[in-house]
Symmetry: C2
Subunit: 347 residues, 2 copies
């Protein structure tokens, strides 16, 4: 009936005895400190591996004394998704302080590469880890690499800089998200032909561009009977998005689906409602907010494709902590999923 023997809870002392060395030497090996012959290093490491020894994190954390500090570099402004991430960080405060972890929010203009780069440079040395909503730009890449070289653990959040040497990326694959949107549009409109409208904040934003790319990929290869209208750019603003969509709906009475790549969903929904076509048009947007939730429940919005902001906040903290402690990362746990949210599976 039972299984798995309860391991005897070895300590460093046991490892030292079994390897035939002193505690000090085990400590040196464990922390890559110099002054140990390669032979001895190997012998100690083998003993550790053989016994699957894991240092007691509580003891290690306690002995370490110094508290760990992490910085979260987030965009200034009223982006609701980012605000949700910040809110979930706030909800973790008891969890964090019980572990003597300090998380500091640093708001900056992440869309200006030089400003972001300077902000990152100023962090060097002050933090054990940094999570950053990064723009993929040479200056930012260099700043990230400098941080890494200085021994700071770096995690990119929501938006990646794959060419940098950041330790981890916490966020979704936006091309796949765009493909998902495309597949849903194609599947939900059925077989009837018609026009599909697509509006984004800006093609210059990497995540938007990637989603558009994935969307078009699927539409072209699998739903070629649908006519994709030229991309509109609403700058993630409700008013502007509303105007653009209103005009478009007037011009094309045969629009059967609408994909909003970025923010401004409220404006788009308003245009749809005022044209009286909110139920006839398959409407797909991103992110779960109080507003998109309402739109899903009333049927204006058919699907919200989202990434879980709470998960991203916690994953970033956990990854930074694991990196700082030299613990392995549970990759399956920290992988952010592309959520398809409809009326009936709202969390």
């Amino acid at each position: 009936m039972a299984a798995e023997t309860v391991s005897a809870a070895l300590t460093l002392k046991d490892i030292a005895r079994e390897a035939g060395v002193s505690l000090a030497t085990v400590d040196r090996v464990l922390h890559n400190r110099p002054g140990v012959r390669p032979d001895t290093v190997r012998r100690v490491q083998e003993t550790i591996a053989r016994n699957a020894f894991q240092p007691h994190v509580a003891a290690a954390e306690l002995a370490r004394g110094r508290a760990r500090r992490f910085a979260f570099v987030m965009p200034t402004g009223a982006n609701p998704f980012m605000q949700q991430i910040e809110a979930y960080l706030g909800e973790m405060s008891a969890w964090l302080s019980a572990r003597r972890l300090g998380v500091e929010l640093i708001n900056t203009d992440v869309f200006d590469p030089s400003v972001l780069a300077v902000t990152l440079e100023t962090l060097s040395g002050d933090y054990d880890g940094v999570a950053v909503v990064a723009l993929d730009h040479p200056g930012v890449r260099a700043a990230i690499n400098d941080l890494v070289d200085a021994g700071t653990k770096v995690v990119t959040l929501v938006s990646d800089v794959p060419s940098s040497r950041r330790h981890h990326y916490v966020g979704i694959d936006n091309i796949a998200a765009g493909r998902t949107a495309g597949a849903l549009v194609g599947r939900l409109v059925g077989e009837k032909p018609g026009k599909v409208a697509i509006i984004a904040g800006s093609q210059g934003l990497r995540d938007h561009a990637e989603r558009i790319f994935g969307f078009n990929q699927v539409m072209a290869s699998e739903f070629s009977h649908l006519d994709i209208l030229p991309l509109l750019e609403g700058r993630d603003e409700d008013d502007r998005s509303e105007q653009l969509i209103s005009r478009l709906l007037d011009k094309h009475p045969d629009i059967i689906s609408l994909y909003n790549v970025g923010a401004g969903t409220q404006g788009v929904a308003k245009a749809l409602t005022e044209a009286g076509r909110e139920r006839q048009i398959v409407f797909i947007a991103h992110d779960l907010t109080a507003m998109t939730r309402r739109l899903l429940l009333q049927g204006t919005l058919d699907v919200a494709i989202s990434q879980n902001p709470g998960h991203e906040a916690r994953a970033a903290v956990r990854v930074l902590l694991s990196l700082a402690r030299n613990e392995p990362i549970l990759s399956e746990q920290e992988n952010i999923r592309i959520d398809i949210l409809m009326r009936d599976n709202l969390p």
Copy 2:
């Protein structure tokens, strides 16, 4: 630019000084030990609250000495979903042993209430926490309540016993999952009329019954133009499911959708393929396995509705640990979502 002051990392000693009592008294209050006047208790608690003091979990865990033991009571047999949960528990072993947590798997016949009840009774006293895939039955409920009364933390996993006094449920709302399936069937078949087939393992299984209930609810209220065929019971077996579906497809050439509530998806898919109708019929099933993944990629399966087994495994462990430590639970984190998985958002 910056925000949040770094808290000064108070210790018990600081609390004692500020409250004007000794360390021993603070300790008594903190652990609800007797021998403290109500006045004093209040004063100490106020000081703790005022300073938002959190005991250092590392220090507490270290001082405690004794390792914590958790038991996972899981069904015997080859249920792939349960095996995935067990596999993810295995992947956590390093994480667990670094925290001196022992997790033991106990396989038993969870579908026989008396066997399950007896199994649970034998655990009393041996474990700090128990996670159990429970059947909702008076005997099981009583056994769970006994465990709770004995001070063991109890979490129901995947399948709940809401009438018991278990501390937490880790799993999805199966009615909502069934509703989601219904909405997807309705949306994906479009406006054309036709018959919808539904097959489950058994109506006697609570989770299957709930999914069927939710499914029918949505179909009746929103897609009444679709004709729901009588429920088939495949006992979660591939062979039997295949035979039932084959016969049904022969009999009804106008089936346009198929919902498999339980396991046996491989058999259903085989029947669909051999009838040559795998692309014409909207096929929705549950759980992500190597097989359903393959079926999604090749287009036989349109949607897999799933709950993340890794998440469930980790959430159960985290919840048990938080309960044992008297820490608050991050409810948003431990809430299991109903995942809609299609070809393009596979993890």
